[in-house]
């Protein structure tokens, strides 16, 4: 199978005939459009693209993509996607999921799919709430958050998805706001290029049940001061005036200002997404200020399919069996006359 498309697609080629039914103003529209714009840039053929989702608002995604797709059951998309990819490694396989789908009901599959490193891409829409069931707290809801199932405030401490993912040995982790389509598209393309399981967490605003949960650092007015957009090989610098940065102070990251206390750009940490040891990446993921976005980790590793294929070739080369009959009639058989 050829991996590059002969035909040049536009985003329209990836729009299905189904009416999109998310709430007006939902970030999901932004992510959908970013994906439809990213796909023509990836050079894959439409028929080789598969979207698998679980259950939740985000999981309606495959219906809107004019590719192969399956809207499956709650939390199980990683299992289904793994089967698709293992059955046909030539496909570009995408999992679309949400914070509840991936980290509550599907938590077990989420950590194991990251551990295994099959070459598939996960896009997690994190809105810190259950939307489709109309507003219960999720595994990423904040303590004290008032929801339909926590009217007096949530008492369950939240996961930080990146922290969980890196703990589960994720090789590729990126985080981005749901309001920056160009960045989303850019990261989706990188995720596609990456060999192994990639996870992109999109901080997606739910206009109905959790509106504004990210505004304090995603609003255009504050974004540059409150976020640090990480790029591999570049200094950890942020701020409207590009005058803030990160340094290591003992075992903690510290925000410094260039020009104060003799700090220059040379003193800042340089982002290394490709570093195998995830310690620094974990620290970045945990930061509340600034919130780290961009590709935080992108460590090249052997994929499960590569290991499996190598073994299969080796076993095939050393085996005397090519047909099932060879096996059936081998060893201890006897004749009845």
């Amino acid at each position: 199978m050829e991996t590059t498309a002969e035909k040049k697609y536009t985003f329209k080629d990836f729009q299905s005939d189904q009416e999109v039914r998310w709430c007006p103003g939902c970030d999901d529209y932004v992510i959908l459009r970013s994906m439809q714009k990213a796909l023509p840039e990836m050079g894959v053929k439409k028929e080789d693209v598969v979207f698998i989702s679980g259950i939740g608002c985000s999981s309606r995604f495959p219906y809107y993509m004019n590719t192969y797709g399956m809207h499956s059951i709650h939390g199980r998309a990683p299992g289904i996607a793994s089967g698709v990819k293992l059955a046909n490694p030539d496909l570009s396989v995408w999992v679309v999921t949400g914070d509840g789908d991936s980290m509550a009901i599907g938590g077990n599959h989420f950590i194991h799919v990251l551990r295994r490193n099959i070459d598939l891409n996960i896009v997690m829409f994190n809105n810190e709430i259950y939307g489709l069931t109309k507003g219960q707290f999720s595994p990423t809801s904040l303590i004290g958050q008032k929801t339909k199932s926590s009217p007096y405030g949530n008492t369950q401490p939240p996961f930080t998805p990146g922290e969980l993912a890196l703990g589960a040995k994720a090789r590729f982790f990126a985080r981005i706001g749901g309001n920056v389509p160009k960045d989303i598209t850019k990261i989706l393309i990188e995720a596609h290029k990456f060999k192994g399981t990639s996870l992109l967490e999109v901080l997606q605003n739910c206009v109905i049940f959790n509106d504004g949960c990210y505004t304090n650092f995603t609003d255009k007015a504050v974004k540059e001061d409150k976020q640090i957009y990480l790029e591999h090989g570049k200094p950890m610098i942020f701020g409207k005036n590009r005058d803030k940065g990160l340094v290591l102070n003992g075992l903690k990251l510290e925000v410094v200002t260039i020009g104060e206390n003799g700090i220059t750009e040379e003193d800042l940490l340089v982002h290394n997404a490709k570093e195998k040891d995830p310690t620094m990446q974990q620290m970045l993921v945990r930061l509340d200020y600034p919130v780290a976005t961009g590709i935080i980790r992108s460590f090249d590793d052997v994929t499960l399919e590569e290991r499996e294929n190598a073994l299969t070739e080796q076993v095939k080369a050393n085996s005397k069996f090519t047909k099932a009959d060879d096996l059936f009639f081998a060893g201890e058989t006897y004749e009845v006359k």
Partner: protein, 618 residues
């Protein structure tokens, strides 16, 4: 010690049932397997039944740590591992205590006297030594100090620690039994040569002990009777001994090759189904993709994914695992993809009796999903025909675009029997519904008229890009549809699709009688027990007693009602509290149906079945 020293002439017997019992670390499964394999090579028909504890290494000498292996060998057709024992080999008091009940009065028990220590007797909860208190007077007891004799036999072999020495005493017992039944030792010695290829001292040790047991039995005249079992009359051909789980795995291999599809297994370890996973992971040379998932749900989901992508997809499990897979199975049903689900039934409910057999997952297989969710359900009935029904499950799944649940059980999965080897070229064709050339009038849910199966349009095929999912689908486009009439129509068509499978499965045939007073009905793994009981019952002079054994449960064979109505009374025998009987009652009004149920984790015994039949036929 045995007092009878006279060697009697060799008796030629039709069949003998032998059980080897000991601690779970005593190697009883190996001893039993060697004996049954050797007997099969000799031309006997065999049927075996391992019975082992759930604990891997239960405390030594304890009652619940007893592991046993029963083999029935015969010169005639053998269809069960047998009920009452002709010979019991007990390696310790706990084995004797828990198995003596099965030994026919007057028959032989061989014991290792070295193990009858005060400590072991206490662990087996004996107040007095049964070898001394007269409680074994009804049996022929052969007392052999097997442990000491094994040590003696090995005193000149270098490189053996105490543990390896005592562990080889099972070969002493095997040697004795070989001599008793005139079996050659060659097969087992050949086995040592292979197994211990890199450990020559173990080859030497095991061979020595096997010989020591054999010659002990021969020269010391300790055996009261000597038997030989003449070869059984079997169809000519090439045979091998096969276990049910292996047969299931091989049936799937054959189906993959025949259909030209790649075999994908998503599985999670669970007793007693795990051996199918163990077998299939070996066969990477055939391109088998076997994936051990993080749980039962991920296992079936990965198989659904593989099926979506065009593989022959299988998931294997046992009862609790099927419960976990229920939701995903419903998904496979509504998106109408081929999927084989093998459920090796064990004792339930909940964790139940993992190492014991039962047929109590039938209703779960039929109905254990939310909503109206019909799937094909079939059942294998012997260790060897697990091959055929695994193949059949794959064929029906692929040709009808549906999940198929194949039910086997711990009894036939762990049992073994001679299998007349089937070549892939002699298996029926498997056609699939894959599509390649796109035309504008194609829709994901258009159906083939005869089967009502939809097309299998797999990713990578240009033009067919489409979406499936668990939400109700429009009857043609497969798009999400909440239209009330559409939901009802789709529910009906999914049911009708399964019903149509009737046109592709064999009709039900009875054995022994086509009409008459009593029809014995069974399904799945009880075939051997029911067959031999009905046979014996007819031989005892009762006439017109038939056996109808079902392998196809959903849908039932077309002529089921017709067959049932030819008998005055029907008795449905099941290893559960009455499941299939209710399916029959639900489908067919006004039958005079009785039921015999056993829920002990054990197969039926001949005697108990015949007792039941007698009550219904005067």
């Amino acid at each position: 010690m045995v007092t009878d020293k006279k060697i009697k002439p060799i008796e030629v017997l039709e069949g003998v049932v032998i059980r080897f019992v000991g601690d779970s670390g005593d190697g009883m499964q190996l001893t039993g397997t060697q004996f049954s394999d050797t007997s099969a090579m000799f031309g006997n028909d065999i049927s075996t039944f391992p019975n082992y504890p759930a604990e891997i290494r239960a405390p030594k000498g304890s009652l619940y740590g007893v592991s046993g292996f029963q083999v029935h060998i015969g010169s005639l057709e053998v269809s069960t591992p047998g009920d009452d024992l002709d010979l019991l080999v007990a390696m310790n008091p706990a084995g004797l205590k828990t198995n003596l009940y099965a030994l026919k009065p007057g028959h032989t028990v061989i014991v290792d006297t070295d193990s009858f220590t005060k400590k072991n007797l206490e662990k087996a909860q004996y107040d007095a030594n049964p070898l001394e208190d007269g409680s074994l007077d009804n049996f022929r007891v052969i007392e052999v100090s097997m442990t000491s004799l094994t040590k003696e036999a090995l005193k000149d072999v270098d490189g053996l620690d105490n543990k390896s020495i005592t562990r080889s005493k099972n070969m002493f017992a095997l040697g004795m039994v070989y001599w008793m039944y005139h079996r050659e030792k060659d097969h087992t010695i050949e086995f040592f040569n292979k197994k211990f290829k890199t450990k020559p001292h173990l080859i030497e040790a095991n061979t020595k002990v096997l010989n020591a047991g054999y010659f002990f039995a021969e020269t010391l005249e300790l055996i009261p009777n000597s038997y030989t079992i003449s070869p059984a009359k079997m169809d000519a051909g090439t045979y091998r001994i096969i276990g049910g789980n292996t047969a299931t795995a091989w049936g799937l291999l054959a189906a993959a090759e025949k259909s030209g599809l790649e075999l994908y297994l998503g599985s999670y370890p669970i007793t007693p189904a795990t051996d199918i996973l163990h077998e299939l992971v070996k066969h990477k040379h055939f391109g088998v993709k076997a994936f051990q998932a993080e749980d039962e749900i991920a296992a079936i989901c990965s198989s659904i994914g593989a099926s979506f992508a065009g593989d022959l997809a299988v998931t294997t499990t046992s009862g609790p695992g099927l419960a976990l897979k229920g939701e995903a199975l419903g998904l496979a049903m509504i998106i109408e993809l081929p999927l084989v689900v093998v459920n090796v039934q064990r004792g339930g409910p909940s964790t139940g009796l993992p190492t014991k057999t039962e047929q109590s997952d039938l209703m779960q297989a039929m109905y254990g999903r939310n909503g109206e969710s019909p799937v094909v359900v079939i059942a294998a009935s012997t260790p060897a025909n697990c091959f055929n029904y695994a193949f059949e499950a794959a064929k029906l799944a692929v040709e009808h675009m549906t999940p198929v649940v194949l039910l086997t059980d711990g009894y036939i999965a762990n049992g073994s029997a001679p299998w007349k080897i089937l070549s892939v070229k002699d298996m029926p064709e498997i056609k699939n519904n894959k599509v390649t050339k796109f035309s504008e009038d194609w829709h994901p849910y258009t159906r083939h008229e005869e089967t009502l199966a939809r097309d299998w349009a797999i990713p990578g095929t240009p033009g067919f890009e489409h979406r499936v999912g668990g939400l109700e689908k429009d009857a043609i486009s497969g798009n999400v549809s909440y239209v009330p009439e559409n939901h009802e129509a789709m529910t009906m068509v999914r049911a009708e699709k399964i019903k149509k499978v009737q046109n592709y499965i064999p009709e039900l045939k009875t054995e022994f009688a086509e009409e008459g007073d009593l029809l014995v009905v069974g399904w799945g793994g009880t075939y051997g027990s029911l067959h031999s009981a009905v046979k014996q019952f007819n031989e005892e002079g009762y006439k017109n007693v038939g056996l109808a054994h079902f392998n196809y449960i959903n849908p039932l064979p077309k002529n089921t009602e017709e067959v049932l109505r030819k008998f005055k009374k029907i008795i449905v025998c099941e290893l559960n509290n009455g499941q299939f009987v209710n399916i029959l009652k639900m489908n067919f009004d006004g039958l005079d149906v009785y039921q015999h149920n056993k829920i002990q984790g054990l197969p039926f015994a001949n005697g108990e079945l015949i007792e039941q039949f007698k009550q219904l036929v005067k």
